[in-house]
Amino acid sequence: MIHWQVIIPLVVFLVLIFGIGIWANRQVMQSNSFLQEYFLGGREMGGFLLAMTMMATYGSAGSFIGGPGVAYNTGLGWVLLAMAQLPAGYFVLMILGKKFAIIARKYQAITLIDFLRERYQSKTVVIVSAVSIILFLFASMAAQWIGGARLIESLTGLNYSAALFIFAGAVLIYVIIGGFRAVALTDAVQGSVMVIGTIILLVATVIAGGGISNIMSDLVAENPNLVSPYGADRSLTPLYVSTFWILIGIGVIGLPQIAVRAMSYKNSKGMHSAIIIGTIALATVMFGMHLIGVLARPVLPGVEIGDKVMPLLTLKVLPPYLAGIVLAAPMAAIMSTVNALLILVSSTVVKDIYLNYIKPTASDAQIKKASFYVTTVIGIAVVLVALRPPDLLIWLNLFAFGGLESVFLWPVIFGLYWKTGNKYGAIASMIIGITSYIYIDQIMPSVLGMHTVTLPIILSLVAFVVVSLLTKDKVNTGK
């Protein structure tokens, strides 16, 4: 059952993405500051690019495949939960904002870790940061890779391994040759595809269901809790929902793949328009996709595997050529997340480890070679892991989210806004954040009904403040 009319728009989409990669490669080759160009796109992003790359990096397989599937089974409560992500569109840029952009330029920082190293002057901070970025983002890359391969598998009927190689091959090539600029430019295309695909599918689903009122009464007839904020089984308590807000709404500041974008834009005008465009795009995608999941229930009853709701629904309510465009959206979401993670992990290895500690005297040619080489090796390693995938895609994803947030949130925020904050505070905060997160996740995932990430974030905050104050006199010698 190969739907050629569906596949053709997907192929056109891939070709376009490749073209961008090749074009960006020319820029990389011509640039006289290879590192800044390859890992940061030369700090030249304008408003639209910045908005789209933030939104597309943030919106992942979870938003297009996993999320609608959960919404299908949970009801409007899950859309409510998804809307907690709205602040991600404006909060990060407003909080990190101009100060981060100015200081990053002052420090000539290319990675988030560059900023932390300059700010805290500590090797331990760098190592802990690098290790957590590599571990967590490797895991979430694998999860996204798996999502992408599953999607191709279900659309084309190819087996999983073949689908994985096609998907991985497509992404790896343009990221390796084009660097951050290719990532940001393709994100703009992918982000637009995500927004357009969401709108088309939402409209088609509402029509197929006979209008909103009709769909809502079908849902009430099945189970009134589907239209309540508590979810189908009433498990979404106000406390859980409000603490979930911390994880997916405001904790996003602690995600390195998002934070690094907050130092890659050209000027404050770009940042201003990015906040507006980004918020609108993010709101459209998050609201639209999750609502689609709920509306799908009466339109397409009895889907057992949540991840299949979105692809099956698309094929049912849309003519094939439109289905192809809409199904390019999750593909775009996955690619745009993976490409950001890949370039970030690569920059961590090359810039923060290789150049800092292994070979500080590397020549430009050596750096170039190392960058291409490292990006390739990491990309291939993720594919190998994804060949025998662990099962829980969303869990892996959220684990990485929460883990990174508990490590980076406070060192980044206090690094910018609190002078007394020092390296001891940062190290304590990072280590307590991560160990308590893993511990709580393993032992008692929802302490007192709160989301797992809540306590680690509070604990790492306390650790940062207390330790910084206690060691206040120790670090005065530095400055």
């Binding site: 602040p87 904020p229 807000w245 000027n267």
Partner: protein, 89 residues
């Protein structure tokens, strides 16, 4: 480090925090304020349950308008490079 641009940056970060608190209050307040009753006795707006309409649809549109307003009237453009700054003052 007492850059005059940082004053602007700090002010805007505080605005960000205020916005996020407003955002949370609308989102959470309408959802559990209006939605905690018995689901079969909900009132509906444009086909959606009222809590959902106000919390997720009207609330989101309100936030977007508020953000546009804040950016246009309260945010200031500043140069990012140090040398540009030194030319100004």
């Amino acid at each position: 480090m007492n850059d005059k641009r940082f004053k602007i940056a700090h002010r805007e970060a505080i605005i960000g925090v205020i916005l996020v608190i407003i955002n949370f209050s609308i989102w959470f307040g309408f959802a559990y304020g209006m939605g905690s009753g018995d689901p079969s006795s909900y009132t509906y707006v444009l086909g959606f349950p009222a809590w959902f309409f106000y919390s997720c649809i009207a609330g989101t549109i309100f936030m977007v308008i508020l953000i546009v307003f804040v950016i246009k009237f309260l945010f200031t453009e500043v140069p990012f490079d140090d040398d540009e700054e030194s030319e100004h003052k």
